[in-house]
Amino acid sequence: MKKECIAMLLAGGQGSRLYVLTKHMAKPAIPFGGKYRIIDFPLSNCVNSGIDTVGVLTQYRPLELNSYIGNGQSWDLDRISGGVHILPPYVREGSAGTWYKGTANAIYQNMDFIEQYNPEYVLILSGDHVYKMDYSEMLDAHKKQEAACTISVLEVPREEASRFGIMNVNEEDLIYEFEEKPKAPKSNLASMGIYIFTWSKLREYLIADEANARSKNDFGADVIPAMLGAGERMLAFRFSGYWKDVGTIESLWDANMDMLSRNTLNLLDQSWPIYARSPTRPPHYTGNEAIIHHSIITQGCEIEGTVENSVLFHSVTVETGAEVRYSILMPGVTVEAGAVVEYAIVAEGSRIGAGARVGAPPGDTAPEDWGVAVVGGGAVKPGRVIPPKVMVDRKGKEVVR
């Protein structure tokens, strides 16, 4: 069946800068914001934008992601025609078919999937970003400008521009130059890694790119520059809302804290709901001694201690006298009596033993030694001290950043 626009979601990222958190799952499966995983944001944006066909390209540790997405029911993506499809790399006759070599190669290898729907346009997304965005507005702009490619851009502070891929545009917002992490940026329009291509054009360039032995088969490094070089109409679409790449421990922690302040990313706003798959647990319980301020608490939690400026996923227990501040506790974490968790990310199922200390406020440590502490799962023995910036894996062993 023909679809005007389908989405391809690149979800194969290893997320190596998240260290212990991505040891057992791909980056898009990382829990975020009390109820969600990162991939819920692009998936929900698709559904809310009227896109009902999404290919999810997986590669690294796909188990968690595959079982999470299932048949797509949680996002209303269980459709008779279209819906969500997991697309892992596969082997073809002869020696064809390999691991996905790069982002462009991942799409190239799934051209047959795209052709089934005979789309006019293809939206390329990544599973690394937290944001609410109406892709249909971007598609309207793309159609109006009759562009070959539209790239969503965000205005970033000038001094940070050299960390991003920067688009230099004319007065019509048509791109004439793309610079990856420029030393002297000419503009402050950073690429958000969200592309709409006219499919017939992209198809041409993907085939050419695959034939080029020197190409890294990457959108940003190869395909976009090739299209610019050939003089294609390339549009920059300005996005003004909240957008965050959560590829590092610090940015993941920051994004959760941003959400707490609610004026940046308001998840209670139901006009653009983010959907998630979550188990049914009873409502959370706050005990007689509980003190909860400026925090997000999810179903199934039992809070007897103190929780401040923190994000608690489902089924977290905070025992009497335990203190949790500026931290992110993923599903099923237990903080035993008297333990203190501050400025930390604690992965699913961890148990922080009685009297243990994880992380510390920035003021108590020299700035170069301070950072968010991470517990990757498993048990932290009672009384153990995990200093700021330190990460421990499921076996309790320290992992070097």
Binding site: K35, P279, P282, P283, Y285, H293, H294, S295, I296, Q299
Partner: protein, 371 residues
């Protein structure tokens, strides 16, 4: 697979629940912050491996239809079997004006559905009880006793005697007598859960409708006690039924006791309900919240104590909610004070209003009211 079929009776509305059942049957009464009463028995059936469940309803069932949908949230949306909704007049001419008088009449209304049951045994249960009951164990006891009918009963009193059925049991569990609306020392209160074979069920429904008999308790359990082998299955766990507003309030407050929650929501027998994908609950910088059960999607900036808050409740800064049950979408504006109040869905309490009921007579506010 244990070869049981489930029939849920969801046709009655306890009239003493007053405004709480104005727009719904007791089975779809919201309870425990995010559930409807029918979720408990429905989940018990699913957790006991029952694949096919029929829900008999009669009137005021829009809220129930809306809640159950295709049954997918209970894993009951199936090509064959799964959840079947059985409204009146579902089968020609068998509807009855003014509601069903009893379970047998309700069953005879869906006789052709009963004939098509694929399983050998049938569980009959009411949809308006909060319990976490392992029905597969009841079936095992039923088979061990070679019983004709096994009835689940308890020693823990649950409701008003006048509205309950009591069994007298021999030490081996055999039921010797059934008393309706009359409690005798040492008798067991019925949980209105029965297991019997499909063939016996069809015979009973046939016989009784031919004799204008409609009450399962009186016309089968009582009248046929000599001819049938009736056994009781004693359940000593938690079970709550809801006959009046005060009942509803007391049972809600019992949930603040961790032992009761443990019994009702034990992890390996999860109670399922409709999924709304609400975000987590947000607590503001000056919020305070003690001894309360709080659902997802709430925004708490004021004070809550000893209360049950359903999904998407808003408590604005400076508002105080104590000993209350606030259903989905209740909005308490700044400075308002509420004590011993049950607010039905989407009630708005404006700034500065003071609403105070009493523990023995909680103030119940109808759905959608603005105060």
């Amino acid at each position: 697979m244990n070869d049981m079929h489930g029939i849920l009776f969801a046709y009655s509305a306890g009239s003493r629940l007053q405004q709480l059942v104005e727009h719904r049957t007791t089975s779809s009464l919201p309870f425990a912050g995010r559930y409807r009463l029918i979720d408990f028995m429905l989940s018990n059936m699913v957790n006991s491996g029952i694949p096919d469940i029929g829900v008999i309803m009669h009137e005021n069932y829009q809220s129930l239809l809306d809640h159950l949908g295709s049954g997918k949230d209970w894993d009951l949306s199936r090509k064959h079997g799964g959840l079947k909704l059985l409204p009146p007049f579902a089968y020609t001419g068998n509807g009855r004006q003014g509601g069903y008088r009893g379970k047998l009449e309700a069953l005879s209304g869906v006789y052709s559905y009963l004939e098509k049951i694929r399983q050998e045994y049938v569980v009959l249960a009411n949809g308006d009880m909060a319990v976490n009951l392992p029905l597969e164990k009841v079936l095992k006891a039923h088979l061990d006793h070679c019983a004709d009918i096994t009835a689940v009963c308890t020693r823990r009193t649950r409701g008003t005697p006048a509205e309950s059925t009591y069994f007298s049991l021999l030490p081996d569990g055999r039921i010797t007598d059934t008393a309706c609306g009359h409690y005798q020392e040492g008798s067991f209160e019925s949980l209105d859960v029965y297991i019997l074979s499909k063939s016996l069920l069809l015979n009973l429904v046939d016989y009784c409708s031919g004799h204008n008999q409609y009450s399962f308790e009186q016309d089968v359990m009582q009248r046929m006690r000599e001819s049938l082998l009736l056994y009781g299955y004693e359940w000593d766990g938690y079970a709550a039924r809801f006959q009046c507003i005060a009942d509803y309030y007391t049972k809600s407050m019992e949930l603040l006791d961790p032992r009761i929650r443990q019994e009702l929501f034990c992890r390996d027998r999860n109670i399922r309900t409709r999924d709304y994908s609400n975000p987590s609950t947000y607590y503001g910088p000056d919020s305070s919240c003690q001894n309360s059960l709080i659902s997802d999607g709430c925004l708490i900036e004021g004070r809550a104590e000893n209360s049950i808050l359903f999904r998407s409740v808003v408590i604005e800064p400076g508002a105080t909610v104590t000993n209350c049950v606030l259903m989905q979408g209740t909005r308490v504006q700044s400075g308002a004070v509420m004590k011993y109040v049950i607010a039905d869905k989407r009630v708005t309490v404006h700034s500065g209003r003071v609403l105070i009921g009493h523990e023995t007579y909680p103030l119940a506010i109808s759905k959608g009211s603005v105060i």
